[in-house]
């Protein structure tokens, strides 16, 4: 097996033995999917889509958040904190390979959770997407890339475990609660919605919602730009400010 394959296999084993990835990355999103699918109103609102339909894209992002902005940065920060990155620094491996291995591992969990959530919504509650699945998957990938870029940036630059916990938690919980991933955006007062719009994931979820109900493209240009900025700034910043120790 090649260098990256072996790294991936061993790091993957270590992460999956930790159970956090299973609980927060897979079980929690699927349980929330069952809950939301059950409680959300199936009645169409003014613009034709029901709360239930709107909630599907939102719930698929819970797994992205747990793996991307918690899983990735916490593992990397833990390795930095304990001098494991310092040991890697005196080997031929590149930071990119270390980060990429963690990204692929967390991604595997995010994708399992995506399938789980989708199965729960469609089999248990008869969800049918009005928009195109192809476009939706594209939007999902873009949001995923943006959230992972934020996570990679946090993991690359935080000096220690404490600040990794702090920053990951701030980003994770603010977006979990206030971007519409769990508490529906639509039930918030208008002025809170305006504040929520500042969170990148709120834009991402807006993009996925619009695509999922087949709304026209011009409504989502801003959201696409925000996702792009997250990716560029996150990855560029991570490359420039990556710390081994």
């Amino acid at each position: 097996m090649n260098k990256f394959g072996t790294l991936l296999k061993i790091e993957g084993k270590l992460v999956w033995k930790g159970l956090d990835i299973l609980i927060f990355g897979i079980l929690m999103p699927i349980i929330l999917a069952a809950l939301f699918g059950y409680v959300m109103s199936k009645d169409a609102s003014s613009n034709g889509a029901s709360m239930f339909e709107y909630s599907f894209p939102a719930v698929t992002t819970i797994g992205i958040l747990a793996t991307g902005v918690m899983g990735v940065p916490l593992t990397i920060a833990d390795y930095r904190h304990r001098g494991i990155l310092k040991r890697f620094q005196v080997t031929p491996i590149s930071p990119l390979q270390i980060i990429l291995a963690q990204v692929v591992i967390q991604l595997s969990s995010a994708l399992v959770s995506f399938f789980g959530v989708t199965l729960v919504y469609s089999i248990l509650f008869g969800y049918e997407m009005r928009g195109s699945w192809g476009l939706f998957l594209l939007a999902y990938s873009l949001v995923l890339a943006a959230m992972y870029s934020i996570g990679i940036f946090i993991g690359s630059v935080v000096p220690d475990q404490k600040s990794a916990n702090l920053w990951s938690s701030i980003v994770y919980f603010s977006m979990l609660l206030f971007s519409g991933a769990t508490i529906p955006y639509e039930i918030m007062p208008i002025f809170i919605q305006k504040i929520m719009n500042l969170l990148p994931l709120a834009q991402g979820i807006h993009l996925m919602k619009q695509v999922s109900i087949g709304e026209p493209f011009q409504d989502v240009v801003l959201a696409i730009i925000v996702m792009g900025v997250c990716i560029v700034v996150g990855l560029f910043g991570a490359k420039k400010y990556f710390k081994w120790k």
């Binding site: 097996m1 090649n2 260098k3 394959g5 072996t6 790294l7 061993i10 084993k13 270590l14 033995k17 930790g18 833990d78 390795y79 304990r82 001098g83 494991i84 310092k86 040991r87 620094q89 005196v90 080997t91 031929p92 491996i93 590149s94 081994w244 120790k245």
Partner: protein, 238 residues
């Protein structure tokens, strides 16, 4: 020349941790960097490896910069840090396999495990190993890349007499085959058994640099232990 250091200085918050360190290491040579705790040994090694920020007139590891040519240099350089940490759930076997995969032409794992008495520990979690076993694993991983040059920071601290002797024997065999070693140690018997040249640091300054005979002679003391205490300033504490 495998390692060349000229006027290397390390500064923390305006205070010199190491000042104007100069030495070189040839192929097959064992070089000992000695000094009391806090004399600047680990800072020097960190700077030479490119981990600590430093200034120098020349810093060449295998003829290349350890910072600019990091990947090329560390293909052929092994490092054992004073403290080695592993992920909690990692086994001995996983640590070896992972390290093995990082290099283009590493040594085989099994003979090394057998040499270091870890063959029957492969499936164990590293955190369940004893201090001595962990130390042996750290040295093993440093030698795994089949390096031309290896850095060993306090290589036998925490080892019992037999394990130390075994390790010395192993290192001398590899030295015969052309391995160069930079080590730090608090044990003068170890230094006498292994080192061709040594350099003693005190508060980051070089007190003396030479062969064991030269160092003993310059100190006016009867043997290396006394010469070391003389130059390192530990004498005053006794």
């Amino acid at each position: 020349m495998l390692l060349s250091v000229k006027n290397l200085s390390v500064t923390y918050n305006g205070k010199h941790a190491v000042r104007n360190l100069t030495f070189s290491v040839q192929k097959g040579e064992v070089f000992g960097l000695l000094g009391a705790n806090g004399a600047g040994k680990s800072s020097s090694i960190g700077a030479i490896l490119g981990i600590e920020k430093s200034t120098s007139d020349e810093l060449l590891v295998l003829g290349q910069s350890p910072i600019i040519d990091r990947k090329k240099v560390f293909e052929q350089v092994g490092v054992q840090f004073q403290e080695t940490n592993f992920p909690d759930k990692m086994t001995v076997e996983e640590a070896c396999n992972q390290w093995h995969a990082l290099y283009v032409k590493p040594q085989s794992i099994e003979p090394l495990l057998s040499t270091f008495g870890l063959l029957d520990k492969q499936k164990q979690l590293i955190k369940s190993l004893s201090g001595g076993e962990k130390q042996r694993l750290a040295v093993l991983l440093a030698l795994l890349p089949n390096p031309q040059l290896v850095f060993l920071d306090e290589l036998t601290t925490g080892l019992d007499t037999m394990a130390r002797k075994m390790l010395w024997k192993q290192l001398l065999i590899m030295k015969e085959k052309g391995l160069s070693i930079v080590l730090t140690s608090h044990y003068m018997d170890e230094v006498e058994a292994l080192c061709d040249h040594l350099l003693i640091l005190k508060n980051g300054e070089t007190m003396i640099y030479g062969t064991i005979d030269e160092v003993v002679k310059a100190s006016g003391q009867p043997h290396l232990e006394a010469a070391y205490l003389h130059f390192s300033g530990e004498e005053e504490l006794i």
